[in-house]
Symmetry: C2
Subunit: 323 residues, 2 copies
């Protein structure tokens, strides 16, 4: 299999290189593509150093898979050339996610959707992947109708420049915000994305729109997206309502049986999910599972997952296995 | 008026000294009380340095008001002596908050309750004060029946040692957790307080129990309390449901007309509440006011307030004015 990564020098692109190795994807050739200014950068893969090339319209010829870790604009620009070259484009941008012809896939949840692609498969939004991993097992058995979610999103969601900005502010070397609209060190910024439907943001509406497409349901979602000074794991506080009544024990058992999810849930021994603990690994941690005090047939929970890995790169690389 | 502060050397106690000056409380004598190890500490007040004395059973004689900024255990220990001395004990601990004989007061909301005291008035939990300031105007006009809240709580909620612990971890001088159960720098800890009803924590149940007592309502509350690496302002993401239908415009107008609350709500110009902006001042900021997508007659909002000031010291000093 010949694989190319478009946007190979960013936080997600570099993680994709690692994930291809970790997940033992049979890869005869790995082509690393980026913009002109990254040409010549060396990235290690399977014991060798690969050299980054400039992405151009002809870069994708002969490739079987192209993993996209670039902007919406670049994804839109190169998609026709990728499809024309006969490669499958697994794209991490939001450019094609809501296109009815494009599957939106979290392999553990709807991996079978990947087979219906017409050349493009989208990788969902990072918070949405992590939340859906936590709730999918409940949805399958008890049918989620409603969800209220508040996020605690890491700076890595804005790429490696987001991480650098928090590091610089913490080191007090440069307090000027440029990636984020305001200082993020010691702060919470309750706005991610741009204004969308009814004063929700684009990022907040992804939880409903992408969540429905992944779970194949029609849940209504109230989401509040908040950036917090955490490096690379997102957390989500969730209250959900199901059509079929569900007990805390049933919900916990369902989640525990779901692949690549770990239950961390025992207050008496200080066991709960935390973003530091989910960093640099692929599982989603779920805890604080309890009866919601407001919603009928309601469950509350808290979940965390690595934004660069399961929220982006690992999920995209897993999709290769679905094909 | 003669005022004593019990626990004068902590973050809240020191802020109380400043607030007495700022709020122009007519104070003929200010007595600063703490444990034996703080005796002799000098704290500036009205251009002079006051010397901290050791708190003992006879410390309260002749006082009109005693402001409590000490632990539950110390509040319980000294309360009988304060009451016997004829002083009014305005206590920031949680020791007496749910006692039916003790008013629980946020002056802007239920200041009139203060008059019913029998010697003790409780100052509410910090997150509860900040959330109630944000929602009280909606409750008065439209009657809140349900609330789902997720908090983003500052380290100052654990006192000055909480602030020092985050500072040390950020400076990398001491990463060992002692105030908090795990590292708080670059982390979120979804557990504040100890296990309580149905796997909620004591801190989470305060939002319902204290919220009802302050607002004089019977709302059900699902609360998830999360510690974040922020210094001294708490934030709360809230979805609420009202008995009487309320529009976003009506909710915004009601909140805007409420004293000591500021609306920060215009995504198009990057205007929303942030904990850095509410630090070191007394107002509660409210924004992201929008129609909840799940709850019938539902409103979602995000609010922030200084935990040491409106969440504790300023509110306690304001209560003096209610008497």
């Amino acid at each position: 299999m010949k694989i190319a990564i478009l946007g190979a020098t960013g936080a997600v692109g570099r993680q994709m290189v690692e994930c291809i190795e970790e997940q033992n994807i049979p890869c005869d050739e790995l082509k690393l593509l980026a913009s002109a200014r990254s040409v010549g950068v060396q990235i290690p893969f399977q014991g060798k150093n690969l050299t980054v090339e400039e992405a151009c319209e002809t870069s994708f010829e002969g490739m079987d898979i192209v993993l996209g870790a670039a902007s919406n604009a670049l994804a839109k620009k190169f998609a026709p050339y990728i499809v024309k070259a006969g490669a499958v484009f697994i794209d991490n941008s939001s450019a094609f996610r809501m296109d009815p012809e494009v599957p939106l896939v979290v392999p553990e949840i709807n991996g079978e959707d990947a087979g219906n692609h017409k050349g493009i498969i989208s990788n969902p939004n990072c918070s949405t992947i992590i939340a859906c991993m936590a709730i999918a097992a409940i949805d399958k058995q008890f049918h989620i109708t409603n969800m209220i979610a508040s996020t605690y999103q890491a700076v890595s969601g804005a790429g490696k420049n987001g991480i650098t900005e928090l590091e610089n502010q913490i080191a007090n070397t440069d307090m000027t915000p440029s990636v984020f609209p305001y200082q993020i060190a010691y702060n919470c910024i309750p706005c991610i994305g741009s204004p969308s439907t009814d004063d929700y943001t684009t990022e907040e509406m992804k939880m409903e729109n992408e969540g429905r497409k992944i779970l194949h349901n029609h849940m209504n979602v109230t989401c509040t997206c908040v950036r917090v000074p955490v490096m690379r794991s997102h957390s989500v506080s969730i209250s959900l309502q199901t059509e079929i009544p569900v007990t805390v024990q049933q919900a916990t058992q369902a989640i525990a049986a779901f692949p690549n999810v770990q239950i961390k849930d025992d207050l008496s021994i200080g066991c709960y999910p935390m973003p530091l603990d989910t960093s640099n690994q692929d599982d989603v941690f779920v805890g604080r599972i309890r009866k919601d005090r407001v919603l009928e047939n309601g469950i509350s929970l808290f979940c965390c997952g690595d934004q660069i890995r399961k929220g982006a790169a690992s999920n995209a690389v897993q999709i290769i296995k679905c094909l």
